[in-house]
Point group: C2
Chain length 198, copies 2
DNA sequence: GTCTATACAGCGATAGAC
DNA sequence: GTCTATCGCTGTATAGAC
């Protein structure tokens, strides 16, 4: 609970993560400072350094928590939704929740700033997308096998299309806070994978 | 030629724009400084302020030039390519050129950082995407009319899907410099709009 | 058109008191 | 666990010489 450079533990640590997460998702890693978090929480910058040694460690903790949550959500979908097409829809729903908040996907935002990030963060972002693509590929393959989805080419390629399509739709929908824009684009993306040609 | 706060004119001004453009596309607006440009060009930060009053004005000039070039490229496609499906392919080719450089679309990068940008820049980025969506919608409608493209729903929604799909695929392809990933995702995107169901 | 010099704010980070 | 105080660095920007 009192360990430094650790994302778990005290209520303050969690509040820091929550604020920082929102700041990264709305302004980007290079678009916020320790000062922003400190002001919002009514503490000092120095206090932040007690919970997270530096901005790099804070960023790492953010991605770790985000990836863990995402993986848990996907595991839950796997365990409760039998149909592949329905699982894919649930995946889109996860992104829709983020878009509804007018946020960008945490890792999507970090992907844009990739070149400027500390190296461990770069790898964590990469790993997030690799894991997402792997999950999508599996669901797409299963859907094609059971007939609930239809597409040509490799599942890998279609997985990249879905992932990219969702991230990009999010990126642009945020511009005028038009979430319906995201929903429409996501729906068109899924329509292209429907077994009876759209 | 000698006007301050102006993106046109001297060779130095153009070189500044070129370097700044690449920096924004790879590192983001908040990920580079006047110092980065000055170092690369072998001049001082102070000299930069002669050509562009501030970073905001430089950013504005970047988006203006980018949008103008893009509009010219689309106008050229309109004037030389009769088939709607072929025009759409040309549009994708424009994005592929950027992805090949392992860059992000200038306005896609700025879209991620949208909330942190000076207000005039925010509007310029919005305008870029509105104009892109309008062009795409027109081509999609024409393609559906002449039978070279096929899709359900509004052309507006499919335009948002294409635009978002390309921006997102770019975003993710940059992570491991895997351009083939972008090409594959873009191809799948177009496949979903082919008149004979993929 | 580019320079030196400088101002001034903000950043991430550290030391040490409480 | 949070504070004050301070460091060193970098950022944008300006004034004025050349």
């Amino acid at each position: 609970m009192t360990d430094r450079t650790n994302g778990n533990g005290s209520a303050t640590t969690v509040r820091i993560l929550d604020v920082a997460e929102r700041l990264v998702q709305t302004r980007g890693y290079n678009g916020f400072s320790y000062g922003d978090i400190a002001t919002e929480l009514g503490i000092t910058r120095a206090a932040l350094h007690y919970h997270f040694a530096g901005k790099a460690e804070l960023g790492q903790a953010l991605v770790d928590r985000y990836a863990t949550r995402f993986a848990a959500a996907l595991a839950h979908v796997d365990a409760t939704v039998p149909d592949a097409a329905a699982r894919l829809q649930r995946y889109v729903d996860l992104y829709t929740d983020v878009a509804d908040d007018n946020r960008m996907c945490l890792c999507g935002m970090l992907a844009a700033e990739h070149r400027t990030l500390p190296e461990p963060l770069q790898q964590a972002v990469c790993a997030f997308f690799k894991s997402n693509t792997a999950w999508l590929r599996r669901v797409l393959d299963e859907g094609r096998a059971d007939g609930s989805l239809a597409f040509t080419g490799t599942a890998e390629d279609s997985a990249a299309m879905v992932l990219g399509g969702l991230e990009g739709a999010m990126l642009i929908a945020r511009l005028d806070g038009d979430v319906s824009r995201f929903r429409a684009a996501a729906a068109r993306l899924l329509a292209g994978l429907a077994p009876v040609p759209a």
